[in-house]
């Protein structure tokens, strides 16, 4: 146990020094600290925040791995399709191949490295300046960010966005636990509004599509949502969407793996099932309403909105990133509603508004992240009214007594 003793000595040596938080962050990564309880409960449950965050990361890993292979697969598939070949995905035929892996890893791993590297440096700097311990919040954010950006996003843009997201989205509010907006979505929103050409359109979702645009080798990088929004035929089947053999942000295409992640989060009681379920219900309800509009004949095929409105309501869950948003983003406990009743309302409105934005904003058809950010802002208001109901009940009790 040499290392344990040596680290302990180092910790004592640097206690109270400026760099102590940075050292402790690394130390506590290896060892849970020797801290004992003072006052209050003398024993404590096994979970700490690191463990909680770690579970979320574990739930994201399948999506990341799939994203790596899918990046390669989409690239080669798009090239083949541009040549006029038909491409049928098969797990071991053309998906889990070394070619796909090397190409995908070469693009995705740098995204992960930049996201974690830049984000953690900012976190460490703030921890040292403010003299508090490095908090774990960024461990999840840093994993989410590479999964929700297009594959070809330039790394410097990502770095700028991460700095912005961590500083403005989190640290100015006082760090982990104090932020109003989901930091990962703040980063995505920054990218979306600062560099829209890299974040939307029909070129960015498949590696290589941008640089080949206008050349003889041009390939399509269109997502399903984009196709619907332009009233084009969608070339992917429902099973492709479910398994994830479609273009999209890096880690959000495979619905089955997202559902696996949802299962992990709900089973471990880390993610709120209330938010996940209510978000999906909200999305389905909005989808049903639009289906109703179409079948009532209020709009015809010539309408801009026809394509997305006529999508079967349940298919909305399989296209775009609504499922990913519901499972990994909406459930962020800090920026979500914090009361159980509030979570139902919060989730429902996210789903509802997501599909609304998706249908009514065909230029940028993905509305999930905007819907979540919007509801992040309203989450404290929702909670306020939920808590007020409890307060009112208490006041009523008092009045009954007095009467």
């Amino acid at each position: 146990m040499g290392m344990k003793q040596n680290l302990h000595k180092l910790k004592e040596k640097y206690r109270g020094k400026k760099m102590a938080p940075a050292f402790n962050a690394l130390h506590t990564f290896l060892y849970t600290p020797n801290e004992v309880t003072h006052g209050g409960t003398h024993v404590k449950a096994a979970d700490d925040l690191k463990r909680t965050m770690n579970i979320v990361i574990l739930a994201l890993v399948p999506c990341l791995i799939f994203g790596i292979f899918n990046a390669g697969y989409q690239h080669y598939a798009a090239i083949d399709m541009a040549k006029g070949l038909t491409v049928e995905p098969s797990w071991f035929g053309n998906f889990f191949t070394w070619d796909n892996f090397w190409l995908g890893a070469g693009k995705v791993i740098p995204l992960v490295v930049v996201s974690y590297g830049v984000g953690l440096i900012v976190e460490f700097i703030f921890a040292v300046i403010k003299g508090h311990e490095v908090e774990e919040g960024y461990l999840v954010t840093g994993m989410l960010v590479p999964l929700i950006v297009p594959i070809d996003i330039p790394l410097w843009m990502l770095a700028v966005a991460v700095v912005f997201g961590v500083v403005i989205g989190k640290e100015v509010f006082g760090g982990t636990g104090m932020n109003i907006l989901n930091p990962a979505l703040t980063i995505r929103a920054f990218l979306f509004f600062a560099y829209p050409t890299w974040m939307s359109g029909d070129k960015v979702w498949v590696h290589g599509a941008v640089e080949r645009a206008g050349t003889a080798d041009a390939i399509s990088g269109e997502t399903i949502l984009g196709s619907y929004a332009q009233n084009q035929d969608v070339i992917y089947s429902i099973s492709d969407m479910f398994w994830g053999f479609i273009p999209g942000s890096v880690g959000e295409t495979s619905k089955v793996l997202i559902l696996l992640g949802a299962f992990i989060l709900i089973f471990t009681k880390i993610g709120s099932w209330r938010i996940i379920v209510s978000t999906l219900i909200g999305a389905l309800v909005m989808g049903l309403i639009f289906n109703g509009v179409v079948s009532a004949g209020w709009i015809d095929e010539g309408s801009t909105f026809y394509g997305l409105m006529s999508v079967d309501f349940w298919q909305h869950l399989f296209i775009g990133s609504i499922l990913f948003g519901a499972v990994y983003m909406a459930t962020d406990p800090v920026s979500a509603a914090q009361t159980n009743k509030g979570k139902w309302i919060y989730g429902f409105l996210i789903g509802f508004i997501s599909i609304m934005i998706r249908v009514f904003n065909p230029a940028y058809p993905e509305g999930v992240f905007l819907a979540i950010l919007l509801m992040n802002v309203f989450a404290p208001t929702i909670d306020h009214y939920v808590v007020q109901a409890n307060v009112k009940r208490r006041q009523k009790r008092l009045k009954l007594k007095a009467a």
């Binding site: 700490d48 579970i55 009681k269």
Partner: protein, 448 residues
Amino acid sequence: MSKDIRIKKGLNIRLKGAASTEISGAPRSRTFNVRPADFHLITPKMVIKEGAKIKAGDDIFYNKANETMRFVSPVSGTLQEIRRGAKRVITDIIIEADKEDSYRDFGKTDLSDAAAVKARLLEAGCWPFIKQRPYDVIANPEVTPKAIFISAYNTAPMSADYDLILADKGEQIQAAIDGLKTLTDGSIHVGVPKGGNSVFNNINGIETHNVSGPHPAGNVGTLIGRVDPVNKGETVWTIHAEDLVIIGELLANGHYKADRIIALAGSSVKTPKYYKTKIGAEVSTFVYDSGLNEENVRVISGDVLSGTQISPEGHLSFYANVVSVIPEGDDYEFFGWNKPIFNKISTSRALTFSWLNPKKEYELDTNTNGEHRAFVVTGSYEEVFPLDIYPLQLLKSCMVKDLDAMEAMGMYEVAPEDFAVTEFICVSKQPHQKIIREALDLMYKEIG
């Protein structure tokens, strides 16, 4: 007349080392300690000097804010030492005990005369057993409570079993109830374990409630919340069931007998069992009688959730009916934050496996299992918190000292111990009980 109260939200923390039903007599303690810190917010004014000879029941100090409220000696002996801490605050009052106790005689009390009962309790040092809500402090004698609440069901981990320690005390308890009944306009509510064999089932003049469910079902705060929550401007009193015995003895026979049967429990104790001792006795008299399994231990006067840490040479505190001894956890654990955990309790399933066998008894140490963080996780406290209060929101309003919000969200109804389970499971390792205590003190100062 009895009603059922079934609590669903909560958490039974099963620990190794619960006391067996054997009751032994502890060797008589050489010294006794009256610790003013046991009496929250009371400033003591000494009435005797070092070297004074005293009988059991003789005054030691009184409450500076209310001269009639006396604090008395649990034994006869000599006042050996008054220890002081920073700013000359009295920390310990050490009494060297005589071989045999002689008692100051207060005489019988007329149990139908409210003024006489109150005066007797105040002068004979039994008033501090009565606490009030709001604020969880010693009751203000000027205020008539709307009801008195007693819990005769202990659900805290490794706590004393009231059915056992009160088994043959029916006579004293009846006397205490008869006396206390005159002090309230309302009823005396007693929570008893459902299906248990509580002595309170045969006591007259009370309303019993059959309580079942996980901890904190047995907390008196849970009982109040279910029966008659405290509204703004109202006061209720709470008394520990075992203290009724001392009160009853005083009212019926005129003696202050600070006898208590305490449970000695914890995984560090060789033979956990019950001991007959007195309030303020040295815990070493019975801790070493029973023996310890290891050296590096923490001795707690009280249960592991809300008790006070004392040194192994320390003394039993005023309100404790259990002494818990558990291993200290001042060691690092390699990759303790991500490896699967089988030997600790958790309410999540985040690679923690205590959900696999809920009946297993655990050997927890005092390690915090992680560092202090801001509140992040939501929805977990509600699973273990049975009161009609939003625990997270109330804690946050306490932290920002928002008195209006605290009042609106139910601060008058709570005591620190009600937040013991939420503190235990807190992923952010926030000191919930301390937050609540400080906020109550602030409210007491500003409003009360």
